[in-house]
Symmetry: D2
Subunit: 411 residues, 4 copies
């Protein structure tokens, strides 16, 4: 992009050192008007300082946008994703991946409002987040100009970056002078840590990496019992208390944190082609995932459940790769949402030192039929003799194969 | 089947009350020669009594077959399945499902040896096991006659069955007189409990249900650290000690038991069409599953891993439904086994009160490249600028869609 | 089923010899009231005679139901299926499969109306149709009693059946006395022929088998050109003339018939476990299938199209197996229908001696961008340099693999 | 890439104008030694002139490589792909896609032989071929330098390119001076045409576009009948005459050409993100595809066939996108090849004016059982009564759903 091309840019601004440097770099390099957007996604930081810092760096008050997106984030992004039981590579609850599209969406909305022609973010050129931001931008505003300073500028070292900061009167706190021992992303769903001291996958993460959960060892010796209520696939109440989506997730986070639940130390495959190691904490999300599967276990038809399971890896990959705002995600979502019509009821859980243990599930829509499953007299609900025909016809093709010389399913 | 049609039958015989009644019922109803087959699959019971009982019930010594199949079971059934990371309905490690095909296979081998024309098993007409046994029988010996006494006889109650036992001098121990509070299946991989007191899915299982693991609460307060070594997808050593498959699984079971690992309380969908509730204990298998995913995480290519994940639900369903000896399972196995060529290396784990926590993984075949992933100077290993073209072309179709009026991935 | 259990039965009645025998057999064996239901699904037969025959066989006028279901069949069954581009085993357009659920649905509606407790059909015990009928019945009325005479009665030969007919004053036309050389099923979508002279898959079908299309050799030497218009995935007009669904399919059938289009000679796998050989004629459906893919080719996003293709075999299998009225079909349908929002536009086709050749497609929703694809000057629409980064990151995992000794994608 | 970095480059050289310009451009811009590689993949051009031209442009004789790869191409690339019944987007037989990996492989082999550090190709920056070449290069030689002149040079117009040619004494034939009306790629499997006059998807292609097949209208009025023999999934003989893979494909091409078979006019989705329109001729491949499905129809188990169908779209996408040399393709290939063990036998076909009509199939490994499928007396092969239990248990979950208020498969 030629620098003169940009008139006004909306920057995803955290208020931290790095995005402050980006802010100043945009002003000086692109010589364009900068609009900052700071979102409360539940990352647990005050947003006031971000406003102050933006003002201090010369942003006009009308160009400073600060939004509390916690409810929208939980309701429209986290909950739909949990309806799918999404796990990336069998383990990861996609806490970072799911937040990026919402930030991108809000940036583009602001760009449309203020007439900006460009957007910028603070993600590096090696990670997935740049993709998630930019795919969102392009899908929502196809002619938008995208500035990814980490891919463009020439700060060859952290020292050079800090020198730039000091040169431009950006406050650099003492602890930022030296580099952080790892980098962190956080929102209402999770915290992730990666890089630096975590880069050797044979080394266990230092305890200080875990910020959002206590050690299982330090959790109470007595289990916490809770019940969760679901309606059409979404959690709506804990212990009988109805809560908004964000408040419910907040409550689950507290319960998870206190019981050492939701830690994950994973080597994963990035969309950009390399493996990376991340340490994730998803306390509330872990509980929600287990509980959602439990309520589905009695309310979903078998083939519906299996169909969901068969598309789940693809759905998770779509979100991980940053394609939330894509027609394929919307297609899958339509299917998944359709499946949740009857996913209502109650789940009872025991939370204990890292474990989320299902101890009961019930639903007015339950498909579990004690009458059919019982070993006791079922009063004719099920005719055991039907099983013979069922087995014989299911085995017929294998018998025909064996008769043709392919015994035991030989190919 | 007309009773006069059967000349000689091989019965899967546990030595317990039920299969002893079946044995006698076969003798009296079909008036055929009965051959008993009792397998040690690691269920933890002495096999001597089964031999004695068979003799006592009039089985000729040459018609009594007792085999220790623990190594074959682990090596040729459990391990191949774990290469696939198989989980049925997101949770179940398929401990019962995987044992049935081996029993069927051995029964058919014996039938061929002794010239039997029929086989019989003690599974009921409501469950999955009848399917697993019989599909195996038919696939291996398409002309075999199958006798499923539970579907055929007319014992209308447990009392009638016990009366039959007493009438035929089958010993009935006191605790069998009343009915067991739930039914149990066990082998080296797991124990499962279901039925009776477990039939209400809202009620938590009584602690006595769990027989193979101690309560997480009762497990040591200090984590147990272990390392596991893998070669081509299979675990081969624990803490540096090389073990045969069955011995390795036995060792993992001990470690799992002691740390309260591997309990699962699940409502699942049976192949025969109803939901059932099972309580499963898979201590060693749970550890093996987690460790296998961990070694794969650094040795498998991304697309290989995702392809495996995408077929896994189907693979698990095939095994759950009883189609181990099918060409589709063999096809998938060929693909899965092919993927494991480089899955060798070491995993370090912390076992703690129900948790299996990965703390490290390394491999001579690792695809993790610290040089590429590092936030530090990567000396040109990765050109961050490539990400721009990568993102732009990945987003192109979405931009074209948005320009055509379908913003944000609208359909 | 004990015969005394049935009070009133709704029979799917064609008016032919076989279902007339069934009618009488139900009356004499079950001694129940019989209600007949005859549907016009476009099979090309007069329905008046069916009414007369039912009356003659003693059915009360108020118990005779005759419905013209052609529009419902096309609109609610055929068209939704064609949105999915459904092909069973790569070839078969599912013409028989898709008609059965509608018949089942209407039978159950009538059963509810007249207070019948049972339904009956004339499908044999070897085929798929029995499954399709009965799965539909059970899904719509779970307590319904199902009578499948072909599985129950003891007519050991065609002669015995005809003797029964004569004994009960059922008219037997001369040509029915000897057996037909093959059996036929027909509806607005297709005709299928199977059995008898078609049972040897190495023998080509006799020309008399084909009843609904002329031989390609006999078709005109000059191609017929047509245009078809689509709206949201459904065909709505031919050559600019808007037609109702059934009228449109009728018109396509005429065009297909005249040009020798839509013959298929296939060995397929039945749900009940054996292979069978069928000769299918789907003249209009074949044209519709090709045209629908063509309009999708310019209106569907790539990933949407690929996702559809990936679930298509499963969707087709569901319908083939008879699970139209299942939640898994509804789930997939929700996803497929969602994808069709923009599938509107026009397709031009050449029909010529068995060939359906696409010669043009256009749409107001087209995603085809000449500006982007052109080899000519694209005025900056596409920056070829982006491809470098795109390729390098897509290849990165393979390069890392090769560096780790796995050249050329070795595993 | 800095130009001075390249020492020796292996160029995929056709001998045509474009790659001759590239050759000279590499010499002048990179000032490196150029090695030319020209392959006979059955494109139907003499290779002698390519050698002469390379010599004339100053390439040393030892740096000129010309290989006849027709057998390797057919045996190791085309045939394995046809085992999968691969179709991209439901229609395209992947004729261009499958040739690129072999060219890439041979270029890398030559690079290793001659000690070259770079490779170059003549594909543009908008198409898929650049990806297919380069992904192959990187997968086989991860440190190779890749030169894609079309993405790098600054010929802003065809005129500039021709001026460069004339300036460097590259012969420019008269017909190349003006631009070709469309661009063509050809090999033993197919010819493709795209661009220029084909860019408007509403316009039918001019007849001159089709070069490898005659018009169906011009094909003989009498069908040609052939038989094809298969062994383990590969065609091995036509009309009883055993032929090598390339000779067999050549023969099929002749048969297809003469009967107007294998034309396809398609709008497809490119991997780089835009839609394009291609006109493909795959005469022999079309016949092979139909015949292969036919021999599979009697030799493959149902679930094997369905599993193949379910992964086919993914397999085709992998090849289309250029990932032949990837572990995921190898994994799928392992599975597919495993399935072909019994795919041997004979298929009879009628070729007639664009149609490939199966008229018979037989195999020593046939799973088709006339005894089971017959409507006649099957002498007890199949017990129709089994169907009742089969249906009842298959419908059980739907009945339970309906009883719980979800009639007709409602969600």
């Amino acid at each position: 992009m030629r620098v003169k091309d940009v008139k006004k840019v909306v920057l995803a601004y955290s208020g931290g050192l790095d995005t402050s440097v980006i802010l100043k770099w945009l002003q000086t390099t692109y010589q364009c008007e900068v609009v900052t957007f700071t979102a409360d996604l539940g990352q647990g930081e005050e947003l006031g300082p971000a406003r102050d810092k933006a003002l201090m760096l010369g942003i006009k008050p009308e160009n400073i946008f600060i939004d509390d997106l916690r409810e929208e984030f939980t309701r429209d992004f986290v909950f739909p994703m949990f309806r799918a039981n999404a796990l990336y590579e069998g383990c990861y609850l996609l806490g970072t991946s799911i937040a990026r599209p919402l930030i991108a969406k809000r940036q583009i909305e602001i760009a449309e409002m203020v007439g900006a022609d460009a957007v910028a973010h603070g993600a590096t050129g090696k990670g997935n987040d740049q993709v998630r931001f930019e795919v969102g931008y392009y899908a929502l505003k196809p002619d938008v100009k995208v500035i990814a300073p980490w891919r463009e500028w020439d700060f060859s070292s952290r020292t050079a970056l800090i020198a730039f900061a000091e040169q431009h009167q950006i406050p650099v706190s003492k602890d930022k002078r030296g580099e952080a021992p790892f980098s962190v992303d956080a929102n209402l769903l999770h915290s992730s840590s990666e890089g630096k001291i975590l880069e050797e996958p044979w080394e266990a993460p230092d305890e200080m990496v875990w910020q959002r959960t206590i050690r299982p060892e330090d959790a109470p010796d007595v289990a916490t019992e809770i019940t969760m209520e679901f309606e059409r696939g979404d959690a709506v109440a804990i212990n009988g208390v109805r809560l908004s989506p964000a408040m419910l997730l907040t409550k689950l986070n507290e319960l998870g944190r206190a019981n050492g639940i939701g830690r994950l130390d994973l080597v994963e495959n990035r969309f950009v082609g390399m493996k990376s190691r991340g340490c994730y904490e998803t306390p509330g999300g872990t509980i929600l995932h287990v509980a959602h599967r439990a309520i589905e276990s009695i309310t979903l038809d078998r083939e519906v459940a299996h169909l969901k399971d068969s598309v789940m890896p693809r759905y998770a990959e779509i979100i991980y790769n940053g394609f939330w705002f894509s027609p394929e995600r919307r297609m899958l979502q339509a299917m998944i949402d359709e499946s949740q019509a009857s996913v209502s009821g109650e789940v009872r859980l025991k939370l204990y030192k890292g474990n989320t243990i299902v101890t009961g599930r019930r639903s007015p829509n339950s498909l579990y039929s004690m009458k059919h499953v019982t070993f006791e007299d079922d009063q004719g609900a099920y005719d055991q003799f039907d099983a013979q025909g069922f087995i014989k016809l299911n085995a017929l093709r294998l018998r025909l194969g064996a008769m043709a010389g392919r015994k035991g399913g030989a190919l």
